[in-house]
């Protein structure tokens, strides 16, 4: 069975500080990987997706960047956090295009 992990579980960071969030999926080779952001009380906004190692497509950047250094790993980062970056960050995977996506447990980020 496939499992998806995200780290850290939660973060409290200062405005202007750097950020790195991670996502790892086990039990599935060559998955499609996705990053989502959800503001408190808001809907899900897709940020990035990746079909293969080294390739990342941006949907909405929000002054963030993403990388896929390994087949099973997806990283979301920024060098300078903004207050507007606060929210719930979710990593998801799917077996291929047009199929359902399965979400990780998420990372809750608070920027002060």
């Amino acid at each position: 069975a496939q499992t998806i992990h995200q780290w850290p579980v939660a973060e409290i960071k200062a405005v202007g500080s750097p950020l790195s969030l991670g996502c790892t999926i086990k039990g599935k080779s060559s998955p499609n990987l996705y990053w989502y952001w959800q503001a408190t009380g808001g809907t899900l906004q897709q940020l990035f997706y990746s079909i293969t190692v080294g390739q990342v497509e941006s949907v909405v950047q929000l002054n963030l960047s993403a990388s896929r250094p390994k087949d099973d790993q997806f990283i979301l980062s920024t060098e300078k956090l903004l207050l507007s970056h606060s929210g719930f960050y979710l990593c998801a995977w799917s077996p291929g295009g047009g199929y359902e996506q399965y979400f990780g447990p998420g990372t809750r980020l608070t920027v002060l």
């Binding site: 499609n32 996705y34 809907t43 899900l44 897709q46 997706y49 079909i51 497509e57 949907v59 979710l90 291929g96 295009g97 047009g98 199929y99 359902e100 996506q101 399965y102 979400f103 990780g104 447990p105 998420g106």
Partner: protein, 113 residues
């Protein structure tokens, strides 16, 4: 562009009454439609997915039927339970794109005794 429009905002029901959350879509091609459920402080979970052969998916008492003629995929349940209280999202994905899953704005369902 491809998009979904769903019941939004707060939906309040009494336990035992039927649940109906609407979802309609706009798409040039034949999409897959999904319903996701998100309980408080948790990640969204897949509830239902449309089939291409007119089968009606069911899960945890919920069901939805894809009607291509009306571009709809409404979520229904005959009798609401307290544990159904959650956020519900309708989402659309195009075959073969490998990319975007478009979510509706979500409906917060609250079931009271």
């Amino acid at each position: 562009g491809d998009s979904v429009t769903q019941t939004e905002g707060l939906v309040t029901l009494t336990e035992g009454l039927p649940v109906m959350l609407n979802c309609t879509y706009q798409s040039t091609y034949s999409p897959f439609l999904f319903w996701y459920v998100q309980h408080l402080n948790e990640a969204p979970k897949l509830l239902l997915k449309s089939f291409t052969d007119n089968k009606r998916p069911e899960h945890q008492g919920f069901h939805a039927t894809l009607h291509k003629s009306s571009s709809s995929f409404h979520l229904q349940k005959s009798s609401a339970q307290l544990s159904d209280s959650a956020l519900y999202y309708c989402a659309l994905s195009l075959q073969g794109t490998g990319s975007k899953l478009s979510f509706g704005k979500g409906a917060k369902l609250t079931v009271s005794p």
